[in-house]
């Protein structure tokens, strides 16, 4: 399916191309649904009404069916989160090694409560279930990046990494040079 004019404004050309490939990839078109929702959310920030409508149209199912599926999965959201969504695992292995202390520290540093978004829209913080990093606990994810072996004192440094990405890029360039 070629991207429509609305698609061009909703999704980047790269994402539109990815969608074209995804609906062709599976023996059954609908199998592309969950990956499409994830990639759309990565780009748009959340599953807006326009995203739901566009995905439904591309797969050939109703918007209701898309919502029915999307509401099942905990990573999919219908409201924007911060640009960097901090997901603190507090499940057993992380809890035993101080996850709640780390979670508290993030809230303190950012001045927001659970699922809160900072006023500049840069960060949000939430408690999540096991993220599969139990032996390197406590662990968090910032969007898709893992950070392991945390302590409350490491929290400000992690936030700085995301606040000042330009400095990090310069460091990377130095490394590559």
């Amino acid at each position: 399916m070629s991207p429509t004019s609305e698609t061009m404004s909703l999704f980047s050309p790269a994402l539109a191309r990815r969608f074209d490939a995804l609906v062709e990839k599976y023996p059954v078109k609908r199998s592309a649904l969950i990956p499409m929702l994830l990639y759309a959310q990565d780009e748009v920030g959340y599953l807006s009404d326009a995203v739901v409508a566009e995905v439904a149209q591309r797969i050939g199912i109703t918007e209701l069916e898309v919502r029915n599926v999307a509401t099942y999965y905990s990573m999919l959201r219908f409201k924007p989160a911060g640009k960097f969504n901090i997901q603190v695992c507090t499940n057993i292995s992380c809890m035993l090694r101080g996850a709640y202390e780390v979670y508290e520290r993030f809230q303190e540093e950012l001045g927001v409560g659970p699922k809160g978004v900072t006023s500049d829209g840069l960060f949000s913080v939430e408690e999540v279930e096991c993220i599969g990093a139990c032996c390197w606990a406590p662990a968090i994810q910032v969007n898709y990046d893992f950070h392991d072996d945390l302590k409350p004192d490491l929290v400000p440094g992690i936030l700085d990494q995301y606040r000042n990405p330009i400095q990090d890029q310069e460091k990377d360039q130095e490394k590559n040079a």
């Binding site: 199998s31 969950i34 999965y73 990573m75 035993l96 606990a137 898709y144």
Partner: protein, 437 residues
Amino acid sequence: MPRLVSHPDEIKLVSRRFGMGATNIDRYLELGGYEAVKKCLAQGPEWIVEEMKASGLRGRGGAGFSAGMKWSFVPKQSAKPKYILVNGDESEPGTCKDHLIFLHDPHAVIEGTIIAGLAVGAKMGFIYLRGEYRYLLEIMERAVADAYDRGYLGKNIFGSGNEFQIITQTGAGAYEVGEESALMESLEGKRGVPRIKPPFPAVVGLYGGPTVINNAETIATVPQVITMGAQAYAALGTPRNGGTRLFCISGHVERPGVYELPMGYNLKKMIYEVAGGIRGGRKLKAVVPGGSSTPVLLPEEIDIGMDFDQVGKAGSMLGSGGVVVIDDQTCIVEFALRTISFYAHESCGWCIPCREGTDWLKKSLTRFHAGFGTDADIGNMQYLAENMLGRTFCPLGDAAAMPTIAFLKKFRKEFEDHLNGTPCPFAREGVPQLTVV
């Protein structure tokens, strides 16, 4: 980057290429990669299935079913296409082994998937990772693309005339999708609710076709079994429990990590020698031996071999290999509450005993831990949990009920200590008590 660990008692088979750059296909080949699949192409499907049966390799996802037997249930003739499904939806709390496999040895997963395909006559395989593992999906995608470039995947794999395609994808956050039939629903673009069985996936699975579904660790083990031979592999473990296993030791130990040890390795030794004992010189209080759904063991119950049968005899399960170690400063009521909160969050809502039961248990435990429990609560929680057992489509209901029953039975005194408004004796300063979310 997850830290790798090592111990002299380890026998590294599945983990032998960890930290060796084997995500690069040339490096994987240098390290003996894709030899097993060539051997399988020469020997044929029946030989592969017999080798797998003889190896004693049992499913590493938790159920511990013989991989060879599972493969042998797939009908030879089928009107619908057959599929291989690799379950990398690793979500059982305490389990992080597949994480390392995808990170360090993606080609072993691909090779194992191709071999499974050859064994049952499938032309397509799916590798499904949990949604949180996006960076691991990207590693898998690169590896799959490299395998296509070399002709190891495609219409004519290794010039043999056989076809095999692999599709990789992730979920989007759902524990329940790790259950085999729910995983198929998710792959079909639906809510991850379980299907009733029978029919079993080997007969009616993905898109209605016969489907083999194996855990990622099981699949990554397959090339090792083929390379070293079924007998040699089986001999590493205990009777009916072939080979080695990735044990994820987490919690209050000095050296947490993923260690590959022979099946049947002593649990006490695993905690005190391999993982360096209890952190800070404290005492052991309890061990969850196989992921959070397995009944807790007391210190006097851990002098056992870690294989499916011996842990079963001790009243628990080997499960997914997630050994969670708990020290004597931990409140078991809080630990039980956190365990149950997870299952309440993850219950898909399809079966009433699970949907309502997990929620009631969570509410009762929350109230109990906050100091508002009553005498009747202990009996009520036990009654509720016992009535969830075996009454749901999938094992999630049992996964919540079994540990609850064990916590109540084995730590009854600690539950009683929380009664009558007594504050939790283990309350940590400056840390808020868990509340209902």
